[in-house]
Symmetry: C2
Subunit: 277 residues, 2 copies
């Protein structure tokens, strides 16, 4: 879809949803088609603690950390992501005159893919197999449904979980789901906003921001510079650029006008070819 931007907003502490929605409203008023995708991890942790089912995280042998999602965790996850945060964002946009419409990946099978029946996790240096988790990945995006809604003037606000072939809700990574969505919708630009200014060469020193990364540099930077959640954002960027996305922007969502700032060059720009070549 021409001019479409896919924006992913993280769910960590410090993210200013009012600033995000104000910025979205400005872009929507200019007629810019936009899909918003969000997380909700820190609020999920709080609610899970309050409900007596504290969050657990696992690290895969390849070094990625993810939420251990048993059935009860999935229910709490859906309460917070689909109920609390999704509707908060939709309401903030509606208050600003944007006809937002919130959906999870299971609604209309927007995001579908296989469930991992078992995952491998490192524990004290040893790998163990964990079963009965509700996690997976997005292989297919229902772009017809998203196009139907965009064409009718709605702004889709999307959130995990996704859905498996057997119709089970599965926890998927939001950054990678955003990349799959951008690719499926033919968006040229993907924004991934979180609570850091972008990729930092020397984490957590914000002055060490890397302003530009070429596609072929992603691997080496992911291994040396990128910590924690940033590694998976770089993986998402790689997946987006492997499709028809030409620019991935990693920006800061703790400030005013976070989308416009990222679009005008703040943060880290990851692109297909050497800039200016």
């Amino acid at each position: 879809m021409k001019g479409l931007i896919v924006v992913k907003i993280g769910g960590s502490e410090g993210i200013d949803l009012d600033a995000v929605c104000e910025d979205v409203a400005g872009l929507a008023a200019e007629g810019r088609p936009l899909i918003l995708i969000h997380g909700g991890s820190s609020e999920t942790n709080r609610v899970a603690e309050a409900l007596g089912h504290p969050p657990q995280f696992v690290t895969s042998p390849s070094g990625y950390t993810s939420r251990l999602t048993d059935r009860r965790t999935l229910e709490i996850f859906e309460m917070v992501y689909c109920g609390r945060i999704n509707k908060e964002i939709v309401e903030k946009l509606q208050r600003r005159g944007v006809n937002a419409l919130g959906l999870s990946g299971i609604d209309g099978r927007i995001w579908s893919g296989p469930r991992k029946k078992a995952i491998r996790a490192l524990e004290n240096g040893r790998a163990r197999i964990i079963r009965d988790t509700y996690t997976g990945r997005v292989d297919l995006v229902n772009s017809d449904l998203l196009a139907l809604l965009l064409d009718a003037g709605y702004l889709p606000v999307l959130t995990p979980p996704a859905i498996s072939g057997e119709g089970e809700a599965i926890n998927v990574d939001g950054d990678r789901a955003a990349a799959a969505t951008a690719v499926a919708m033919g968006a040229k630009t993907l924004l991934i906003l979180s609570n850091v200014p972008g990729v930092l060469a020397d984490f957590p020193h914000e002055s060490s921001l890397i302003r530009e990364i070429r596609e072929e540099e992603i691997e080496s930077i992911a291994q040396t510079a990128a910590q924690g959640r940033m590694r998976i954002k770089l993986l998402a960027a790689q997946e987006a650029l492997a499709g028809e996305v030409s620019h991935v922007l990693l920006g800061d969502a703790r400030c005013d006008a976070p989308i416009s700032r990222a679009l005008t060059g703040e943060g880290t720009l990851i692109h297909k070819k050497a800039h200016g070549s």
Copy 2:
């Protein structure tokens, strides 16, 4: 829309969501267009207790009881209705091959209407004014959006809250929202299923089921026979029949095939004219 049925499922104890979804899947496979609307009150009470914000209810001077919805209650309400129950139903339908799509009334402004800035409540026989509640009623249904989704083959699963003119989420009665939806969509049949067999002349004796009520009898039955939540269901029936709906069925959702049973005459039938005339 031709042949469309609007089905409202309550959120009280005892309701069998698997039986409801199995029945919906059967009707959907026959090509019957259907909109499902649900509640979530008993689970909301449990989660509100667990999160340390216990539910409160108020009774209006005209005798209707409703949830006192401050901002924190609204957030918990959205977590349970839009996150927990809505996604549970969508997942149960997807597992049965139905392409369900869950939305709240704030999404795409499906249900909009005025927020009551203050409500009158009876307390120990005295009326008092309560402000800062997020409640209201549905005046307008976005039937274009629902028709767009139905025409594209999706089964809409709807839940409160609705949205005010100012873009605030407001708690609305689900039965009355279902009635407004049936009227706006030109449905001839509205089903309201809960955890009783229908209207009981002598509550809670289930053998006192009233099998048939004519439109002009609703008022007197509401005053004599109907207890608690049933009064508002009769009000919803009245509002539906005042539109183009010809049959309202009040049935039991604690059994197998609850929708099919209600359609074949179990429960209470409320209709416009004397049956058979």
